[in-house]
């Protein structure tokens, strides 16, 4: 997991650019080390977010390139009202939307209440509950307790990691954008609403559906791996 180690160390609070004001001033002064840090820390997350917006990797890579250009152009005007990360993600989202609209393939929330995200009911699991009688709505089979090491164990396996990544990629676009920003990039709900221009309720509904689907995939993974016999 070399990639993760690099990202972790880049994000470590001990890093000299961890203080954002220091980082921004250094960038404005043209410090290449500071820009290199920004590239190492955010290129991957920007690409991941771009892929949640546009249909192909090639287009996503172009959007990220445009975003870096936009970051350089707007840096002198950055006022620090939001974090640098939120600010960059917003630049990317705007570029991706423009790009997607141009290609007429962008799926946005504009024409709806956020419930109609093309998802249907696939995130629900009605068959896990008793359907009728006085115990209706209670578990028909109890969810099991996962052990503490589950994330580490799962992500060590290339196959499981790919399956979880695929599960996220297969989500309806807006769900994918929300779960990427919230659970991978660790932004808070307000920042995500701001970047994606959705209401707090929509954000929560989308996040819930996305997480529920990924949970289901993880559960399937764990059940397949469980020793039988």
């Amino acid at each position: 997991m070399k990639e993760e180690d690099t990202a972790q160390s880049a994000l470590s609070s001990k890093h000299k650019w961890a203080d954002e004001q220091t980082l921004v001033s250094a960038l404005r002064e043209g410090d290449e080390g500071a820009f290199g840090f920004l590239l190492d820390t955010y290129h991957g997350p920007l690409l991941r977010l771009a892929m949640a917006h546009v249909p192909s990797r090639a287009v996503a890579e172009e959007v990220v390139q445009e975003t870096w250009q936009g970051v350089l152009e707007s840096l002198p005007r950055f006022e620090g009202r939001s974090s640098l990360k939120t600010w960059m993600f917003r630049i990317l989202t705007n570029r991706a939307k423009t790009r997607g609209q141009r290609e007429r393939r962008y799926e946005s929330l504009d024409s709806g209440d956020g419930q109609s995200d093309g998802d249907g009911e696939g995130w629900r699991e009605p068959d896990r509950f008793i359907q009728a009688g006085s115990l209706a709505g209670h578990w028909s089979s109890l969810p099991s307790m996962w052990d503490e090491e589950t994330p580490e164990r799962l992500l060590l396996s290339k196959e499981s990691r790919a399956l979880i990544q695929q599960a996220i990629s297969a989500l309806p676009p807006v769900q994918r954008q929300v779960i990427t920003l919230r659970d991978i990039d660790e932004l808070d709900a307000k920042e995500v609403c701001n970047i994606l221009e959705v209401t707090e309720t929509n954000q929560r509904v989308l996040l819930h559906r996305a997480r529920s689907r990924v949970r289901k995939i993880i559960e399937q993974q764990l059940e397949e791996k469980r020793p039988t016999g």
Binding site: E3, E4, H43, G44, Q69, L135, G137, I184, R211, I218
Partner: protein, 92 residues
């Protein structure tokens, strides 16, 4: 005790919400956007229901797992190209 009465009692003890309802509210609970009384009801249910406690814990584990997915590192040639652009920007 009749099955019906048992069901009613369980439902009452479990905060008057079913497990199926509870799992729909999990994100609202984790986001801290519930009212005080909803939160109390939710927690009462959890107190009585091992299945829902496990499910809640699974959701938290899911979130932790997603948070650990590694991002792709930036390819060297892309990094070099962007640094070159930064140098030009600096001069401009």
């Amino acid at each position: 005790m009749s099955q019906d009465l048992k069901g009613q009692l369980m439902h009452l003890m479990a905060g008057n919400i079913t497990c199926q309802d509870l799992i729909e509210l999990i994100t609202e609970y984790l986001e801290g956007s519930m009212s005080f009384s909803e939160r109390v009801r939710f927690q009462i249910h959890l107190g009585f229901c091992q299945g829902c406690r496990n499910y809640l814990s699974q959701m938290k584990t899911t979130i932790r797992t997603i948070g650990k997915l590694p991002a792709e590192p930036i390819p060297d040639e892309v990094r070099d190209e962007l640094l070159k652009r930064f140098r030009t920007w600096k001069k401009g």
